[in-house]
Amino acid sequence: MRAPSLVVSLLLALAAACELPTPPFGRACDAENPCPDGYLCDEEACIPEDLPADAGTLDAGP
């Protein structure tokens, strides 16, 4: 009985390690969950750094 449970645990562990990669745009962010390179955290959401200044309602950068 131990072997099957071991196999199931192994499978689950393997699956947990297999997280599907998600594009960062719009992902929630804060100091503990920073955005990846090329993105900046703006109003708790990752947005591209090279977004044009006049895009949307965002204020132009300093």
């Binding site: 499978l11 599907l20 998600t22 594009p23 745009f25 719009g26 044009p52 949307g56 965002l58």
Partner: protein, 470 residues
């Protein structure tokens, strides 16, 4: 029966009344005064004889002669002359009968008036009781022109072969007189009594089949239906005929010439000692093989379904008792082989196992694919969410707020898909992959068992792969 009397010497009155008129009637009698025969008068010899009898006053003798003449040449004058000589013989009753016959047969006869007068005269004589002198019936013999009972004919002579033979029978086979063309004539038409019905001696070849002859076609030619010795043409009659190799006159086989008239040998169609069969040919595999042994394994002849045939049913001698070469896999356990080598045929257990494994492998493979499909659903959902995020990012330059709103929704969907993928999607796919491997392995094992155990046995006996081992 009327008696015939010898004629008496006529007296003067008779001569005056009868003979002179008779002579007048007959004319000049033969030979000095016989009328010259005319065509249709009848046989000249008979004419001469009749007239000679009358001339010699042998009237009673002349009567039957004229009657015989009338019989052969029916003319009024012949019958009339018969009556006249009867009258001359003074046989009143016979004369009356004959005269009446003349008038009855020839009413227009030129002397009818005279005949009528004679009839009247004779009737008066007889009425008075004067019958005259009846002629005595003469002794008759063959050759006297008069046909009497017992004679078929009488041509006035005893010559044979002239139509009426010397025994007064018609010239023909079976009349007892050998005449032209007859080799014999025993007086009958019976066959086999020495002289057959065709007047040839009772011998083979005379055209008459008489016992003990089976046939007789009148010749001694063989093969024409009736052979020499008067036996029917055919095998076994002792006469070599067309299409016969031999003919020893019996129906025994194996004595050199068999009952079908072929020389005793295997393949002649006649079964003889030492042959199991004989179908008349040397073809193998048709039930009776060359060598006249029945088609079967062990008869020494390789036929369909046999890869070898060494003439025995011994195993391990190169060709085993199932007519396959000695060796592992031929179904016969021989020296040096173990039971595993020879199942003696496809092992049912192995066959079942192979089939079961193949089926289980296929089922597992299919179910694994289905499982993998279910497991892949979260991954597909995540891929769709990721695509939506990238699309929103691409439109961020136009309207960042809207793009962010879309991106957040897609991020939530991606997060949900990721959670489902990690909780059951990925494990399902991994398990399905493992199951797929196991299923394929099982199926392959099953197929291998089948091909290794069933196919080789089925291949034994393939006539296309014959290996002739004598």
């Amino acid at each position: 029966m009327r008696r015939w009397l010898e004629p008496k010497a006529p007296d003067a009155r008779y001569n005056a009344l009868v003979l002179v008129p008779l002579v007048t009637v007959l004319g000049v009698l033969a030979p000095s005064g016989a009328p010259a025969p005319r065509p249709g008068d009848g046989p000249p010899d008979l004419v001469a004889k009749a007239y000679a009898a009358a001339e010699e006053l042998r009237y009673c003798d002349a009567v039957p002669l004229f009657l015989a003449l009338h019989e052969r040449a029916p003319q009024a004058k012949h019958l009339y002359r018969a009556a006249e000589v009867a009258y001359a013989a003074r046989d009143h009753r016979m004369a009356l009968d004959l005269y009446r016959s003349v008038l009855a047969a020839y009413p227009t006869f030129e002397k009818a008036r005279s005949v009528a007068g004679k009839i009247k005269q004779l009737e008066q004589l007889i009425a008075r009781g004067d019958l005259g002198e009846a002629c005595a019936e003469p002794a008759r013999s063959c050759g006297d022109w008069v046909v009497v009972p017992g004679e078929q004919c009488d041509d006035g002579n005893l010559e044979d072969g002239d139509g009426c033979d010397g025994n007064c029978t018609l010239s023909a086979c079976g009349n007892g007189v050998r005449t032209g063309g007859e080799a014999c004539d025993d007086g009958n038409l019976l066959d086999g009594d020495g002289c057959d019905g065709n007047c040839t001696p009772s011998t083979c070849g005379n055209g008459i089949a008489a016992p003990p002859e089976e046939c007789d076609d009148g010749n001694q030619v063989d093969g024409d239906g009736c052979d020499r010795g008067c036996v029917r043409s055919g095998c076994g009659n002792g006469v070599l005929g067309v299409d016969e190799q031999c003919d020893d006159g019996n129906a025994k086989n194996g004595d050199g010439c068999d009952r079908n008239c072929t020389r005793s040998r295997c393949g002649n169609g006649a079964l003889q000692s030492g042959e199991e069969c004989d179908d008349g040919n040397a073809l193998d595999g048709d039930g009776c093989d060359a060598g006249c042994r029945s088609t079967r394994c062990g008869n020494g002849v390789v036929t369909a379904g046999e890869r070898c045939d060494d003439g025995d049913l011994e195993d391990g001698d190169g060709c085993d008792s199932n007519c396959t070469p000695t060796g592992c896999g031929n179904g016969i356990v021989t020296a040096g082989e173990d039971g595993a080598c020879e199942g003696g045929g496809p092992d049912e257990g192995v066959v079942l196992l192979g089939g079961g494994l193949t089926f289980a492998g296929a089922a597992l493979t299919v179910s694994s694919l289905v499982l993998a499909g279910f497991g892949a659903v979260p991954a597909l959902d995540h891929a769709a969410a990721a695509a939506a995020i990238e699309e929103a990012e691409a439109s961020a330059g136009d309207d960042l707020d809207a793009a962010l709103e879309d991106a957040r929704a897609a991020q939530a969907a991606a997060s949900d898909a990721n959670r489902r993928w990690q909780s059951f999607g990925a494990p399902l796919v991994v398990a399905a992959a493992a199951s797929l491997v196991v299923g394929v392995a099982l199926g392959a094992t099953g197929i291998w068992l089948w091909t290794e155990n069933v196919a080789p046995v089925a291949a034994v006996g393939d006539p296309n792969d014959e290996e002739r081992i004598p």
